[in-house]
Symmetry: C2
């Protein structure tokens, strides 16, 4: 159950995973977060709003970033230090969200790794940003 | 179901809400996000790790920020543009996480509002950062 160590990581290394967002995922996120903004949960209300229908919570896509970091790159054992997020476009029910994280910086002295984080639907970014994680050293 | 408009907001305006993090909340967040890093989900594994026990996903606390923004300040209708997050300390099962958001900047021309976002357990910050949201204008 151990992920990648500092010594396993290189610039440009990348991982991705795709989620299909359905109404159940949005409802589950609303329940766990308590974020019941009707833009997300109420089709009748959301239909009159800026997106003309229900959209996913931006933080749901951010949660997918956390999943790729925590399970794939660097994977289990990595400690999340920081994340920036720009919510660029809405994610709608039925959208396939592809999350790609790519190593863009490595600080060997501090065992800190910077990754670009991109959520895309088709060819368009819906959420982008940057993550910083602390990784373990091999044998440490 | 409408939240606060640009004209309702002033510098220093603040809202807060407190959540108690239990094992069920962490399990639910793992399910909805797919983030099953064993630091969060596996007590036996996590007991051997840096926090000596299961800790919540950092992004769970971030989701609580989203909830305060979406339901309280500015509330329904606000559109989330950006968020920065620093994960400062672990959140453990049983911790009460108090989220406080405070208006720190208002751009009237763009109807954009900046808020500081703080998640605290007791007197210590566990996650801090800054949010940017787009709000509606009264009567618009």
């Amino acid at each position: 159950m151990s992920g990648l160590c500092l010594e396993d990581l290189g610039l440009g290394q990348s991982a991705e995973r795709t989620w299909t967002v359905d109404a159940a995922a949005i409802d589950a996120f609303a329940a766990v977060s308590g974020d019941d903004n009707p833009l997300h949960t109420d089709e009748a209300y959301a239909a009159t709003g800026p997106f003309h229908g229900r959209v996913a919570h931006g933080m749901l896509a951010a949660s997918y970033i956390s999943a790729v970091l925590g399970a794939q790159l660097p994977g289990a054992g990595a400690i999340y230090l920081a994340q920036t997020l720009r919510f660029l476009r809405p994610v709608r029910i039925g959208d396939e969200v592809k999350v790609t994280v790519t190593v863009t910086g490595i600080d060997p002295a501090k065992a800190r790794v910077t990754l670009s984080t991109r959520c895309a639907v088709g060819r368009k970014s819906v959420v982008d940003g940057e993550a910083q994680v602390l990784v373990s050293r091999r044998g440490a």
